[in-house]
């Protein structure tokens, strides 16, 4: 009997146990065998709910996240998404026709591949009979893809769904100006030569000014960095605190990378440029160097610098989600349960990036657990100041009472459990792909650290946020 088979057997046993005597003597035995974590302190032993299907994450992968304009320079978004898909299929040995559905998230859409999920799936050789769609929800697009998948499985529509996200900022759809586009479109309809010439003669030099994809919030016309700088000022987050947090993120990422903990990173062959297998944005420097940087968004008195902001990144991610029964039936060892999630949104001007503070208590209440029950926190680091502002907001009674309509503050979020393998500041932030990276990182950390519950949070443009509770699968 080889080890592979042995593991599967154990899982089957555990399932049987969990179905019949959850929390019984078998659990205790396994815990004492394999895990050091003390489960008795948790308010709840499992977050399974009667009548709700158990949905599991089987595996999660991502391409290396690379600074935009570097090695992925010649890739289009669907190339990156295809690489992630193929990587996932290879890693899980999932047959190409075993997937029921594919959902991808992306933010800045390449017009040629607006349903990038479908193009990537076809390119990856996944059966053409399998439908795919693309979702967009700013920086939480991949989270939206995952929760869409969860919905499809929960509703009984699908059993096996691949969800993920992709973004490339090395190439962007830069458009002609509105006036030029209008002229060109009218030109199409012009029938005679003279009509065409009259139209052409109307073109002015100004028409040729290109239009870049807006990185500002449409409703407020403010860039996210500018809003974040105001947010840090509102919460009195100092420049030093932000520099320290940025330093922490890069140091932890470097440590995790060196220790080989970032096991979700695939090796990708970039034609003509060789094989990449590491993120290239991790740059641990010194506090002295960080202090020297000038603010980028609010000048000259702002506090956010390039080091304390996530940088433009290319990359793709993918996760394989299944109903628990299907996973087990197919012989997989699921890594974790995906439990409750909430999306919340608020004022896109002054609270653009404050979502995690609002969503944390909401999702915890939904799950019936407390902040203390969480072993792993994976929060998207849009800006160091944004994370710190959220920590301060959650620790403020005034904020809880005035802005959230709660009786008292959410509490202190234990920073020693937060983003221990680096975060978006150091690993990079391909807008559409980050969500799946966060979930996979949380799951892998649960496995490694032996925790039971993880909380994933990400904020997005438009003042929206997603919050997910993940439960380690070790118990079942």
């Amino acid at each position: 009997m080889d080890t592979q088979v042995f593991i599967i057997i154990i899982i089957i046993i555990i399932i049987i146990v969990s179905h019949h005597v959850e929390g019984g003597h078998f659990n205790v035995k396994i815990k004492s065998l394999a895990f050091k974590c003390s489960m008795q302190t948790k308010s709840k032993k499992t977050l399974a709910k009667p009548g709700v299907k158990n949905i599991v994450l089987v595996e999660g992968v991502r391409t290396p996240f690379l600074l935009s304009g570097t090695i992925y320079n010649d890739f289009m978004a669907h190339d990156l998404a295809r690489a992630a898909l193929l990587g996932l299929l290879n890693k899980t040995s999932l047959p190409k026709d075993a997937v029921d559905y594919i959902v991808y998230g992306t933010v800045i859409q390449e017009v040629k591949t607006s349903n990038v999920a479908r193009e990537a799936a076809l390119g990856a050789g996944i059966s053409e009979k399998i439908p795919a769609h693309t979702v967009t929800m700013a920086c939480i697009s991949a989270n939206q893809a995952i929760t869409t998948a969860v919905g499809l499985i929960a509703a009984g529509q699908c059993d096996v769904v691949v969800a993920g996200g992709v973004e490339t900022m090395s190439d962007m759809p830069i458009r002609h100006s509105r006036k030029m586009r209008k002229t060109m479109l009218t030109l199409n309809k012009a029938k005679t030569l003279s009509q065409r010439l009259t139209l052409l003669s109307k073109i002015r030099l100004g028409y040729l000014t290109p239009e870049l994809p807006a990185l500002t919030e449409f409703s407020t016309n403010e860039t996210m960095g500018h809003s974040a700088d105001r947010l840090t000022a509102a919460f009195g987050v100092s420049r030093r605190e932000q520099d320290e947090f940025a330093f922490r993120s890069h140091s932890l990422a470097k440590k995790a990378q060196d220790a080989g903990l970032l096991s979700d990173v695939l090796s990708v062959n970039v034609p003509g440029k060789g094989i990449v297998s590491k993120d290239n944005g991790i740059r641990p420097s010194s506090m002295e160097q960080l202090e020297k940087l000038k603010p980028v968004f609010i000048k000259p008195h702002g506090t956010i610098t390039p080091a304390s902001s996530s940088f433009l990144t290319d990359g793709a991610s993918a996760v394989l989600l299944m109903s628990e029964e299907k996973a087990l039936a197919m012989g997989y060892k699921p890594k974790a349960y995906l439990r409750d999630f909430v999306f919340v949104s608020q004022d896109p001007k002054d609270q653009l990036l404050l979502g995690p503070s609002y969503a944390t208590p909401e999702v915890l209440e939904k799950s019936g657990i407390t902040l203390d029950d969480i072993d792993v926190f994976e929060f998207h680091e849009a800006f160091a100041g944004q994370i710190l502002a959220n920590l301060k907001a959650m620790d403020s009674d005034w904020f809880a009472q005035t802005c959230m309509g709660r009786k008292s503050k959410v509490g202190v979020l234990p920073i020693e459990k937060l983003n221990l393998w680096g975060g978006s500041l150091s690993l990079g932030h391909p807008f559409g792909a980050t969500g799946a990276r966060l979930v996979t990182a949380a799951v892998n950390r649960l496995k490694k650290e032996g925790g039971q519950y993880a909380l994933v949070a990400a904020c997005a443009a438009g003042g929206q946020v997603v919050m997910k509770v993940i439960q380690n699968y070790f118990f079942i």
Binding site: H226, R230, A233, A234, F235, Q351, K392, A393
Partner: protein
């Protein structure tokens, strides 16, 4: 022993507390000076404020440990709103006012020459003397808040910036911008101020964090300002901005005396064009700037203080200050807070008026239903509202997104659906009693019992309209002026049956719409239309007597009306004038006599209904600014020609025939109790009908001109034309007793 100690403590306490307006603390090596007038919502440069400021500055300058200063206000939404008007009004002579100005000049000179840098941290209004104070500082930081506005509104009070403003502004922002700022007196938003070079840095307002956003924003402003103060001391922040090429070019051009002379000439010409020389302040501002640049700053400061003194004593300034105070009074709700706030408003009729009312309401957090009877009218009305907001987008005062969300609060419809949720209905349908009765009944059938029915009529008595109502206590008149988004006045008309809460509610909505409000009693034409009618009747007679429309317009504008009287008639609409004329004549008989009403009815028959039709007394063509006389209208006038009696037809007589009838009718409204006080009468005449602002309104005009002199003139006209020129009892009383004045 105990007593003594207590006494000592008491003394110390008194010493600390003796300053109530200005306080300071030293943070590291920066002195943060806080301004806070204890008995007002705003800071003004009053005498105690100036005294305490001087004391504090001396202490700070004497303190060797202080290396720089930050000047900030503790009031939310106000830095310093200007000098204290009462302080100027208390002065009895020009010399006294000049002395005040010189004290201010001296204080700000000291600030300007401060041995340590002073940073003005501006949040909220920074106007008049407040701006002059800030200008004297070495560095200015302002919040980008919407409440932050800078400006020199003195000109609107018939004054000039009298504490160094006319001297510092041209140097800081250049001659053209300085003239623009001082001669218009307009408010400048922070971002514009930065572009002009009026402030050095901008600070963004913050959202809620660990404290209220307003509180935290001011704290943040202070932190940032302290940072700049330290930066100036350690030379990491330069005090002078590197100039762009355009700026350098402009500076070079301004260095040439000939160019400056040309600018003075052009600006003077423009001022004369606009004011007809009736307003002394703008000309004095030009003189002061000129003196400073051409004869040196000592001469400039002297000119400024002396002119300031002179201006303060002019009747023009007194009238304008009076209007300002009246305006402040008319921006308060003397009827108290209404029981229910109007959250849902319906407007009937999407014409110019209805759409205009919708436009000024829908961006104030009120949901608006705009109802019309036909799709074409409705869509035209909605377009008008959209254009109004789009113009604001183009001017960058709102974003396109704000325009869209605002427009989402406006529902256009042809039926009465949703009226069951409406708190108030304003009808702006055709001026016909039977139509008004019909809609009133329709509305009352579908609205909740608390719903107020406001009628926007310019002439029909409200009680006649209310006669058809089941709930007359909820019926009120709200008379808006066209164009609604530009005209500041709202005339609210109450009947004997209108409840106080209904009035309070209407006033509250009007204030929300940004209106200056007068509340008058019901009667034909209420106050404004009633004043206007006899004047229009006289205008028509003058036209029939052969006075050219262009000449009439010239005579009326040179008297101080913002637009010529004939153009005004075209703007109001000849049909409206005819309609109102008929109603008013019915009510007031021969006192409303003048021109022959058939002139206007004939014009209406021919379709010459005024500007909206493109033809009235003038011809209006799209895109062309010049107005030509409508020859067909001239023909009609010729047909009705009257001979002009030479004894009452001089240019001055023409003016006074028009004005005296207006003024007499206004006084009659006070005499009859339509108006509750002269102040509201003045405000209504100036803001609703364009009565010359420098005269302050009909009542102030009578005070200044002399009731006896006016009665004399009227007697002369009465002999020719009869009772239309009979002075009312109130005017006669004032004429008999010269101590009787409307304003003390």
């Amino acid at each position: 022993m105990f007593h003594q100690q207590f006494f000592m403590v008491g003394l110390l306490f008194v010493c600390r507390q003796i300053r109530s307006h200005v306080s300071y603390e030293v943070k590291d090596d920066v002195a943060v000076i806080r301004i806070n007038n204890p008995d007002s919502k705003v800071n003004t440069l009053s005498i105690p404020m100036q005294r305490e400021m001087a004391e504090v500055m001396n202490e700070v300058w004497a303190n060797g440990a202080v290396k720089s200063v930050v000047l900030i206000s503790s009031k939310p939404g106000c830095f310093i709103a200007g000098a204290d008007i009462n302080m100027i009004q208390a002065c009895r002579s020009a010399e006294e006012v000049t002395a005040l100005s010189q004290e201010g000049q001296k204080m700000f000179e000291k600030i300007e020459k401060s041995p340590i840098p002073i940073v003005a941290a501006i949040n909220g209004s920074c106007l008049g003397g407040g701006l002059e104070f800030a200008l004297a500082c070495q560095y200015r930081v302002a919040t980008k808040s919407r409440k932050t506005v800078l400006g020199t509104p003195e000109v609107m009070l018939g004054l000039l910036p009298g504490a160094g403003g006319t001297q510092r502004l041209p140097k800081m922002v250049g001659l053209p911008s300085a003239f623009d700022v001082m001669l218009t007196g307009r408010n400048i938003r922070a971002d514009k101020a930065k572009k002009m070079g009026l402030v050095h840095q901008l600070v963004d307002p913050l959202g809620p964090g660990l404290k209220d956003s307003d509180v935290r924003t001011v704290e943040y402003l202070e932190e940032v300002a302290v940072g700049f103060a330290k930066g100036i001391v350690n030379k990491s922040i330069p005090l002078t901005k590197r100039k762009g090429i355009m700026q350098k070019l402009q500076d070079y051009a301004m260095g040439i005396p000939f160019v400056r002379q040309q600018i003075y000439k052009t600006v003077t010409k423009r001022v004369m064009n606009q004011t007809k020389g009736l307003y002394p302040a703008p000309l004095k501002i030009i003189e002061c700037v000129k003196a400073g640049l051409e004869k040196g700053s000592e001469a400039g400061y002297l000119e400024e203080s002396q002119n300031f003194g002179k201006l303060a004593m002019t009747p023009e300034s007194k009238a304008l200050v009076g209007l300002y105070q009246g305006q402040v009074a008319c921006k308060k709700n003397r009827f108290g807070t209404p029981e229910r706030e109007v959250k849902n408003l319906a407007i009937l009729g999407a014409g110019l008026m209805g759409a205009g009312i919708a436009q000024v309401t829908v961006d104030k957090g009120v949901n608006v239903i705009l109802k019309d009877t036909a799709t074409e009218g409705l869509s035209r009305g909605q377009d008008q509202v959209y254009k109004g907001f789009n113009a604001k987008v183009k001017k960058k005062s709102i974003t396109s997104f704000e325009r869209d969300t605002t427009m989402s609060c406006l529902t256009g419809q042809l039926d009465y659906s949703g009226f069951e949720r409406v708190d108030m209905v304003i009808e702006a349908v055709f001026e016909d009693l039977s139509i008004k009765h019909k809609v009133l009944k329709e509305v009352e059938a579908v609205t909740p019992p608390h719903c107020i029915f406001a009628t926007n009529t310019s002439g029909l008595p409200i009680k006649d309209i209310a006669a058809a109502s089941k709930r007359p206590e909820n019926v009120i008149g709200m008379h808006y002026f066209s164009p609604v988004d530009k005209m500041q006045l709202l005339e609210i008309i109450t009947t004997d049956k209108t409840s106080k809460d209904t009035t309070a509610s209407a006033v509250a909505l009007g204030l929300k719409q940004g209106k200056i409000i007068i509340v008058v009693k019901d009667g034909p034409g209420f106050y404004t239309t009633r004043c206007l009618s006899p004047m229009l009747a006289e205008l028509l007679r003058l036209l029939q007597e052969g006075v050219e429309p262009k000449k009439l317009d010239l005579l009326t504008t040179s008297f101080g009306l913002p637009v010529g009287a004939v153009i005004l008639a075209d703007e109001v609409g000849i049909d409206v004038a005819a309609h109102v004329g008929k109603t008013m004549t019915k009510a007031f008989g021969s006192r409303l006599d003048g021109g022959n009403i058939e002139v206007v009815t004939t014009m209406v028959e021919k379709g010459f209904t005024g500007r909206k039709a493109g033809k009235g007394f003038y011809i209006y063509e799209k895109g062309s600014k010049s107005r030509n006389i409508n020859p067909a209208a001239e023909e009609i006038l010729k047909k009705f020609k009257l001979s002009a009696p030479p004894s009452v037809s001089s240019d001055s007589d023409v003016q006074y025939r028009l004005v005296s009838r207006f003024v007499n009718e206004a006084l009659l409204c006070l005499q009859e109790g339509i108006l509750s006080n002269p102040m509201e009468g003045d405000i209504g005449a100036v803001f609703g009908l364009g009565f010359p602002p420098f005269l302050g309104g009909p009542f102030r005009f009578v005070d200044a001109f002399g009731a006896d002199k006016l009665v004399q003139k009227m007697k002369k006209y009465e002999e020719v034309y009869g009772n239309q020129f009979t002075a009312c009892q109130l005017l006669q009383d004032h004429a008999k007793d010269s101590s009787k004045k409307f304003y003390k």
